[in-house]
């Protein structure tokens, strides 16, 4: 299943072009799922390129939100999960989510992820239309919403993690379970202390406002 993040401005200006663009995404190899953040020119370039082999199912994000309980609205989790189970395998699903807070959209993506979990056949494409200003907030969670995605570590970082585990295992071997786990507990405790100290310093500097 491919995922696409679309700017609302293009959607408003030329929704047919957007649909056409999504059709061309749908024909890409599904074994190599792609995530893309579509800009206006890319959409317009592809506008005439593809046919309309797949049905486009539009979902109004507003249908997934119950307004009135809180200022930003409350997600209708049951509806989101039911809808996910009902999407047909060959469809293109377009979620029109402009005008809503990024946080709410991201939380809805999380619910969609759970909704799709037990579905054997996924739609061809999931496209999320959001406000232009939100693109860079919505795109990262969308890219990893339905897949475990690579987050390649550099070799040094991988070795550092490996060495730390080897050290833990050595102390486990030498001192047994009761004493052997002490070094890793101490390290975890010192890491927590360090994080707490940094937060305190940042609060002093005005970088953190909570609490």
């Amino acid at each position: 299943m491919h995922t696409v993040c679309l700017p609302a401005s293009v959607w408003r200006a030329d929704d047919r072009a957007v649909e056409s663009f999504l059709h061309s995404v749908a024909v890409c190899d599904s074994a190599q799922p792609v995530f893309m953040l579509a800009d206006t020119s890319a959409i317009l370039r592809q506008a005439q390129a593809a046919g309309a082999d797949h049905e486009v199912r539009r979902i109004e994000f507003a249908d997934w939100v119950r307004i009135g309980y809180t200022a930003e609205g409350v997600l209708d989790v049951e509806r989101i999960r039911n809808d996910c189970a009902m999407f047909s395998a060959e469809n293109i699903v377009m979620l029109i989510a402009n005008g809503f807070e990024s946080d709410l959209i991201v939380r809805a993506l999380h619910q969609m992820r759970i909704g799709f979990f037990s579905v054997a056949q996924w739609p061809k494409v999931i496209a999320v239309v959001c406000d232009d200003a939100q693109m860079f907030q919505v795109a990262p969670p969308l890219s990893s919403a339905f897949y475990l995605q690579p987050t390649v570590l550099n070799p040094i970082a991988a070795k550092r993690v490996a060495n730390r585990i080897v050290k833990d295992s050595k102390s486990l071997r030498l001192f047994g379970k009761s004493i052997g786990v002490l070094p890793s507990l101490l390290r975890r405790w010192s890491a927590k202390r360090r994080v707490a100290q940094e937060r305190k310093a940042n609060r002093g500097l005005g970088w953190v406002w909570e609490e």
Partner: protein, 593 residues
């Protein structure tokens, strides 16, 4: 006839039965001894009746010496957890026509009323809490009397047969009058003894590994009354015949304790997968429907709840104790053929689905207890790291308290055997297969050969691979990913519940695969701790065999001393230090020239 007053071994910590804690044996019962009855009780007996006291009674004893035409058991089931063992032995020892009178027990259902005894024992009198059972016919185990003829059965697969050759060679060497060797399944092409064994059950397909069907088939095909069903990793002791004769005939579901030496000098002993116990499983509330049963019969061993069943604690059981929730772990069963056929394994369960517990518990409910032969040990040729934690193994001591035990020699830098029974070539190939399946082509990398040679490199490679994977968040695919990680990267069994936690972590917590699959993976940590430098994978299966040397004799002595000193905590054998030494030497798999 005398009055036998039994007393538990104090170290067991069983509820005491003394003058201050239990009523005396009533006089009217005691006087029956004068009328020819043999009275057996744990209750205090007035000295004027001159009782014969049998001290230090524990689960490693046989009670076949209790014989007679009229046996009175007073408060046995109430006073002793060992009652099933005592009643089993007595029921088999007495002749047809003899009676057992059960007195002084509060429970309504008696052990001798269980299914196994139903056809042979009849309750002829029942009044005021006393039941008289008369033996009408020989019991099933008696129909298979004698210890001369043995069938050794081994379920096998088509993989390399080097270690199977070692196990079969040992069976061929045993001084047993009549024996046959049955293999269920066709072994690998390098098996050397096709002409000395009978192969059965080739129609049983795998995967999944239908281990229960295989064991049942072995029992059905056995030509001799005594069955010894072992896994191909179990190396029997040289004096097997002597061990089983000392233990005696008419045994129930029996096993022997097992040891695995992690090193090349017999210096690092580990008790390894022989008899276990779980106190919680039977009472667990989560149950499911078994594959072959209806909804009205639910079980804690149904495949649907295995991940929950696994959360119950499992310990190695102490041979001095008996509990109705102890079970042989499936790698070795010594059993009479007719007894096995009366209570076969549940064929709807497959390997590692708690089939051993289900079988032992069902047998126990039927009246067939599980017990340990304390006159010898077996050795495991190989080990699964999952069952062999470097920090120690939870073993119940004589008091029944599970404690983490490990030999002090664990820390010594002695040359070790391979930790995982997979060759370096196959391991590298499997890791590459995993990479090809889950890492997108544009970021796929070639795995270095060192990743199967050195533990640090192995770990770094695994981290590197996992940081590059792409997997859809679909139940089926995510589970396949974890299963492939288990099979192709870890090469060890990962607990069902761990798999569920990982899948949940990915789904609900958006967890990072490196964190969940490596940093929070105890099994992998254990691999590294077992072999911090290397030698994780094997170069040749012969690496698991020992060489005869002076240092090995010294190592075995050290291990014998350690095990003897901790005989009530780790491994109990009925003998002294030299007995331990001989038991270890006689079960050591040596390299043959």
């Amino acid at each position: 006839m005398p009055i036998y007053k039994l007393t538990h071994l104090k170290a067991l910590g069983y509820t005491p039965v003394s003058k201050t804690t239990a009523p005396m044996l009533p006089d009217e019962i005691a006087v029956r001894a004068g009328n020819g009855a043999m009275i057996v009780t744990f209750r205090p007996v007035a000295p004027r009746h001159r009782p014969e006291t049998i001290k230090r009674v524990n689960a490693s004893e046989r009670f076949s010496w209790i014989k007679g035409r009229d046996i009175v058991m007073y408060g046995i089931e109430t006073d002793s957890p060992l009652a099933p063992l005592i009643l089993w032995d007595v029921a088999h020892a007495i002749e047809v026509g003899a009676t057992i009178t059960m007195l002084g027990d509060a429970s309504a259902s008696r052990y001798l009323q269980r299914d196994y005894f139903a056809a042979s024992f009849e309750a002829v009198e029942s009044a005021d809490g006393s039941i008289v059972f008369k033996k009408r016919a020989p019991l099933l185990a008696e129909q298979d009397s004698g210890l001369d003829a043995w069938t050794f059965g081994i379920p096998v697969g088509p993989e390399d047969a080097t270690l199977l050759n070692v196990a079969v060679e040992r069976i061929l060497e045993l001084k047993v009058k009549k024996k046959e060797i049955l293999l269920c399944g066709r072994p690998g092409a390098n098996f050397k003894y096709f002409d000395r064994v009978r192969i059965v059950g080739e129609d049983i397909t795998a995967p999944p590994v239908k281990i229960c069907a295989k064991k049942n088939r072995l029992a059905q095909e056995a030509a001799h009354p005594n069955l010894c069903i072992i896994h191909d990793r179990v190396f029997l002791p040289e004096n097997f015949d002597e061990i089983v004769r000392r233990f005696g005939d008419h045994y129930p579901l029996t096993t022997m304790q097992s040891v695995y030496f992690d090193d090349k000098l017999n210096m690092v002993p580990r008790r390894y997968s022989d008899i276990g116990i779980s106190h919680r499983v039977r009472g667990q509330s989560e149950r499911g429907v078994m594959r072959n049963e209806d909804v009205d019969r639910i079980s804690e061993f149904a495949p649907a709840v295995l991940a929950l069943t696994e959360r119950s604690s499992f310990f190695s059981h102490n041979a001095l104790r008996y509990d109705q929730t102890s079970y042989p772990t499936g790698s070795m069963y010594i059993c009479k053929k007719s007894v096995w056929l009366a209570c076969p394994q549940n064929e709807s369960l497959h390997w590692i689905e708690f089939e051993d517990l289900e079988h032992a518990y069902r047998a126990s409910d039927m009246g067939i207890p599980s017990r340990v032969n304390p006159y010898g040990v077996t050795q495991s040729l190989v080990s699964r790291p999952l069952l062999m934690r470097v920090a120690g193994t939870f073993i119940e001591n004589a008091k029944g308290r599970a404690r983490l035990s490990r030999a002090w020699t664990e820390v010594l830098p002695i040359k070790r055997k391979p930790a995982i029974k997979v060759s370096t070539d196959k391991a590298l190939e499997a890791m590459n297969r995993f990479t090809a399946k889950y890492v997108p082509a544009e970021i796929r990398m070639q795995l270095p050969a060192a990743s199967v040679e050195r533990s640090t490199h192995r770990l770094a490679t695994i981290i590197n691979v996992l940081s590059r994977v792409r997997v859809p968040m679909q139940s089926e695919k995510l589970r396949a990913f974890v299963a492939d990680f288990e099979k192709w990267i870890v090469f060890d069994q990962l607990p069902f519940s761990w798999t569920e936690r990982v899948v949940h972590g990915f789904l609900a917590e958006r967890a990072d695969p490196v964190r969940v699959l490596v940093m929070e993976n105890d099994v992998l940590l254990n691999h590294i701790a077992l072999r911090p430098k290397g030698a994780v994978f094997l170069r040749s299966p012969v690496d698991y065999l020992q060489r005869r040397s002076i240092s090995l004799i010294f190592g075995t002595m050290c291990s014998a001393l350690y095990l003897f000193r901790r005989r009530k905590d780790v491994l109990y054998l009925k003998g002294g230090l030299s007995f331990y030494y001989r038991a270890l030497m006689k079960s050591t798999p040596f390299k043959r020239t």
